[in-house]
Symmetry: C2
Subunit: 159 residues, 2 copies
DNA sequence: TAAAACAGGACTAGAATGGTCCCCAATCAT
DNA sequence: ATGATTGGGGACCATTCTAGTCCTGTTTTA
C-alpha cells in the first residue's frame, strides 16, 4: 500500500540512534540492537545494506562497528530508502509486458515519471537530522518548496 | 519498493480506456477486458473497488456496465490509489508496537506525517485526464507548485 | 594466535498479492 | 412473467515477497 518495508523502518530507527551521538562515533551491531530493541541479526542485515549504499561505514576487527559516513544532516531520507528498497518509483514501467505496447498504458508513462519525480523530491528534501529532531522544535525551520509538477491542472480534486 | 500494486496499475489502464470516450459512456466489464487485454475476472475485481469508492458507477441488468461518475479531469490519481490500496501513507505508524514507545522512533513520527502529506499532495495534483493526455502535449500545461515541507533544510543532499 | 566483529549469502516461515471462480441480486427484453 | 444478461460480494488457492535467523568466512586488534 505504498509503504516502506519494516526493514527500512528499522533502518531509520537505527540511524536515528546513531545520529544522536557524535557523528564519528562507532557502534557495534550488538550495541545498536540493545539500544533499539531490535534483534541483532536484523540490525546486522539492515546495516549491511546501509554500508553497501555508503550511508554508514564499517570497521572490522575487535573494536569494530559502524559509524555514519556523514553528519546526519547530509543524508536524505531518499538515500536511506533507496539503500534498502532500490530505486524510488511508484510504477514498474520499463518492465514491459502488460498491454503497455497495445495502446492505452504507454501514453501515460511520461506523466507517471513526473509524479515519481515529485515523490522523490519530497523524500530528498528531508534529512536524517530532520527526522530525529522533535516535531515541536520549530526553531530553525524553513519551508522548502518541492518540485513542481508540470501538468495540466486538475480542476476539481476529489477527496 | 514503494510501488503501487498491479491491481492499481490495471485500474489506471481501465480508467484510461474509459476516459477516452464521452464520460457518460457505459462499458460492460467484458468489453473493457477485451479493450485492455486484461482478464475479465480481474477487470471486474478492479471495477468493484472503484465502484465502492465512487470513482465509477455501475448499472446492472441487460444493457448494464460501468461509467465514470465524473469527467476524467475531476478524479485524481490519489483517489484511485486510495480506492484500491487504502490510505496513502508511507509509514505504518499508529500500529504501535515497535520500540516506538521506548525512545527513538516516536520523535520522528510527526515529521513523517509531513512527508506523507507531501506525497499525497503530489498524487492529488494529477487527474486521470492528465495521465491519459500524451506526454508531449504541452498545450494547456500549467505548473502546479506542490505543498511545501516545513522542516529544517537539509544542507547537502546525497544522491 | 585467539577473540571480536563485520561480510555474504542461504534458508524457512509467514504474510501479502494476484488471479480465478461461484453463487446471488438486479435489470431489461420479449 | 420469465429468462438472459450483467454486476455484487466474497471465498479460495497458488505464487511471490518479506522478515527474520543462522552459518561460514574474513578482517583486525590485543
Amino acid at each position: 500500500m505504498i509503504r516502506i518495508s519494516k526493514l527500512t523502518d528499522y533502518a531509520f530507527i537505527v540511524l536515528g540512534h546513531m545520529a544522536r551521538g557524535r557523528h564519528e562515533a562507532v557502534y557495534a551491531a550488538a550495541e545498536l540492537a540493545t539500544g533499539t530493541g531490535i534483534a541483532v541479526p536484523t540490525v546486522s542485515k539492515v546495516l549491511k545494506s546501509l554500508t553497501r549504499a555508503g550511508v554508514v561505514r564499517s570497521l572490522r576487527g575487535v573494536r569494530g562497528g559502524y559509524a555514519l559516513c556523514r553528519p546526519a544532516r547530509e543524508t536524505s531520507v531518499a538515500t536511506v530508502i533507496h539503500a534498502l528498497e532500490g530505486p524510488i518509483a511508484i510504477t514498474e514501467c520499463g518492465i514491459a509486458e502488460h498491454q503497455c505496447n497495445q495502446s492505452d498504458a504507454c501514453h501515460t508513462r511520461g506523466n507517471w515519471d513526473l509524479i515519481n519525480q515529485a515523490i522523490r523530491g519530497a523524500l530528498e528534501s528531508v534529512s536524517l537530522a530532520d527526522l530525529v529532531r522533535p516535531p515541536n522544535d520549530h526553531g530553525a525551520e524553513v519551508s522548502i518548496p518541492l518540485t513542481s509538477l508540470t501538468l495540466p491542472r486538475a480542476t476539481e480534486l476529489t477527496e
